[in-house]
Symmetry: C2
Subunit: 315 residues, 2 copies
């Protein structure tokens, strides 16, 4: 449904082509479509039919891809989903402006629901959109900051990642005529899930199997990224281990040694297990919230089944 | 009212500061507030009270300033309203992300009107926002394009400039409970006005008095900008004069000679008079449309008086 609706938008035929071809490129470039699928499944759970959430689901997916497009400019990333980023394939101005157009398109899609839903949906969508910007700013701040704690990190990923997943759940539920209480439960489940996914990403980056994950393990360590693994290690390390960790991060130039030694420290400090436990707890919280709603059981199983499939992915 | 409402938004206190301080900087940096004033006056014209249009007016002003912020990145402009642009004062990533946040803020403000107005206002605002992006793209395309005609130029400024002024008028009118027909007349008057303003800008750049206009006349000529003056001259020039014009544009390195000689060609071809006539016609069209609405006369005089003050400015 999502792919069909994206094709129906027919970005490739819109004028000026210089503005819309990059939009078509980004939106045709795949991705797991997790957010719109959540939105549709949440709607179906409450109403038996996902169709009422189709345009909002697409709004969320376009908004998500807009954030990736602008984030890639800010991060100077060359590749996204194994293809050149828009600012590499075209240029930065094109990426900037096409991203702006995508944001407008997402607002236009969320505005196109039944008028009686607008007063409920718009505040969720708008607040979420602003929070995602705030999360991206925190992420950029953290790069230059030394004292980032686990709590600060969790708040950053809540804003940068979780709120959009939560909004997808809540908006889907609202489109499916869920009660206010159930819509809120769906939002909360999305927050827990978003955190779980991000923590799992951090885990997969180091412990994922290369053939499945598609990239060499340990990339985050080489970039000195402040992942939940590193922050947990810092929290648990005594003075000596903490210094050794910092020394490896700052001064070790051999990538293989750097990854191996830091991995060893993580092992000594039980970092992997602790982090896996955190992800599992968040995942369970999400499931409980979904199951505690007043939705039809078949819909709940479909959504929770989809979530399990994502959580058990090795890539 | 606008300035007070901007202060009420209290951007300077919002977190993360790195995201919102640039928003505060841009929104406190003045500007003529033409669009929000149009919006308020249009509302008052039909209802006797501008207040119902206050938040939409602010939405339009924030959206306008967002476009300036991102345009300045794309144009690599150092100054805006005699102060450093955001990407100069901070950096490009900050300018990009704060601009994104401003766009969200504008959508959130337009979404905060009385729910019964949403189905009328959102399509106007969203379509306009997208058209402004399209206009900016055309403007960038034209820089590298040789065969730009007057008609293409007018379509570009319609999208880049006029539609937002038109939307300000129409949205104000809708907030003032204008009829569908009157709201459309207000939109059309805004289109004419936007074109008139841009043409007047082109005229002032060359014929404005430096002490009032604040910059040396002829800047557009030195940048080889495709203004309505140049396009009119090209249209009217015979082969020989056309070649001389191109030669001056491409090869004349002395700025004073370049401006003086091109000005002379414009004079020979009656370019100034023809262009002034175009602006005057558009201005009259706008006035007629406003006066043909079913609004209170006192409101009409207030709006048309404000427009006359802008049109007769020498700076």
């Amino acid at each position: 449904m999502i792919e069909q609706e994206i094709r129906n938008m027919d970005f490739a035929s819109r004028l000026p082509r210089e503005l819309y071809l990059p939009v078509d490129y980004v939106m045709s470039n795949g991705g797991k479509r997790i957010r719109p699928v959540f939105c549709l499944l949440a709607c179906e759970m409450f109403s038996g039919n996902p169709a009422a959430a189709l345009r909002p689901a697409l709004a969320i997916e376009i908004f998500h891809n807009f954030t990736l497009l602008h984030d890639d400019i800010m991060d100077k990333a060359d590749l996204r989903r194994n293809k050149p980023t828009v600012h590499k394939k075209w240029n930065e101005n094109t990426a900037l402006l096409s991203g702006d157009a995508m944001m407008v398109l997402s607002f236009d899609l969320i505005s196109s629901v039944k008028p009686e839903l607008l007063p409920q949906l718009l505040p969720v969508f708008n607040r979420t959109a602003l929070e995602v910007c705030e999360g991206q700013q925190l992420d950029m701040n953290f790069e230059a900051l030394t004292g980032v704690t686990e709590q600060m990190y969790l708040e950053m990923i809540r804003l940068k990642t979780s709120v959009l997943i939560a909004a997808a759940m809540k908006i889907g539920a609202i489109c499916g005529s869920a009660s206010v209480k159930d819509a809120e439960l769906m939002y909360d489940s999305g927050i827990s899930l978003g955190m779980a996914f991000q923590i799992q990403d951090d885990l997969l980056d180091l412990y994922g199997r290369q053939e499945k994950f598609g990239k060499k393990p340990g990339g985050d360590i080489l970039l000195n990224k402040k992942t939940i693994l590193l922050l947990t290690a810092r929290q648990r390390a005594g003075k000596e281990t903490g210094q050794r960790l910092n020394d490896l991060l700052e001064n070790e130039n051999d990538p293989d040694i750097k990854i191996r030694e830091i991995k060893k420290i993580f092992e000594d400090l039980d970092v992997r297990k602790i982090t896996e436990k955190k992800a599992a707890n968040l995942f369970n919280e999400a499931m409980e919230k979904i199951n505690s709603t007043n939705a039809r059981n078949s819909g709940k199983s479909e959504l929770t089944g989809f979530i399990e499939a994502i959580m058990t992915r090795k890539s």
